[in-house]
Amino acid sequence: MSFINYSSREINCKIVYYGPGLCGKTTNLQHIYQKTNPDVKGKMISLATETERTLFFDFLPLALGEIRGFKTRFHLYTVPGQVFYDASRKLILKGVDGVVFVADSQIERMEANAESLDNLRVNLKEQGYELDKIPYVMQYNKRDLPNAASLEEMRKLLNPTGVPEFEACASSGQGVFETLKAVAKGVLADLKKMGG
């Protein structure tokens, strides 16, 4: 749910990074945080365990610039990927405007990817959203690893509808901004559509 404030001339949108445990959602946000100018980003918050596993969410506010005289702000969130944190994942999806699914390219994680994607669909539905109707992009992360599955295989399993997709290596930053730009574009295009 975007928030448009005509008084301060701001548009605020919420983007959620979803995916199985250890797929690199937090790493995506950390890279964005490290590589953006201090004047466009707020503080990054990570509610994590002592072993740096996401417990509730990570949060990063970004100001992308102006569009038609309105400041556009994106609030990026990650969900905790581990299966047993499902209750928390549902809460974070509340009011979402766009979703990035971060898939782990390692062959042995394919089942976890598929399970997490199903879980995303179910949890969105509970909030009254349809994954196929909201701005949504796919990121194939960890492409640099030797045990990465082929793109064709991942596409077939995770992206049969052909949403925008990106190969990435979040730890080096490859593909991270391309993914963010694509989802942000999708959210703004949706805003335009809703107005039209």
């Binding site: 005509y6 009011g95 909030q127 909201i134 574009k185 703004l188």
Partner: protein, 162 residues
Amino acid sequence: MLESQLVMQPEDFDKVLAIIQKLVRDANAKGVFVVDKAGQLVGEAGEMQGVDSTSLASLTAGCVAATGGLAKIVGEEEFPIHFHQGQRDNLHMTLVGDRMILVVVFDERSSLGLVRLRVKKAGSELARLFEEIRKKAETEAASHGSPFAEITDDDIDNLFAD
């Protein structure tokens, strides 16, 4: 179907500010914040300029959402009032209508009883106002459409030109 957008016109925003500025005075509060349940800051008032209100909004929404989840587990619909007591500052959160949260930060200059009393009145005023804003946004969207209908693909691309 997406939850409806929150669209706030300057005159409505002024009304929100007037209510929370009055609440700051009436409750002797340090600061008052209105946050939506998705974690966006809607308005703030008081002497807490410089505080990271964006993070405050996001964490408030997370806290309320987690407590709401707990409520359902124990068989409650919601816990509409939350109170966090600190050594110096305290935090009082109340649900306003079905999508807003009113946060009051106060110290020894005030008391929980006073804050509760004042929040009750301000909360119901805000709930009425947000209901009006929602209705107005619906009728306006139906009659005029949104100004963002005019956003072009170039506008969007320009945001990312670096």
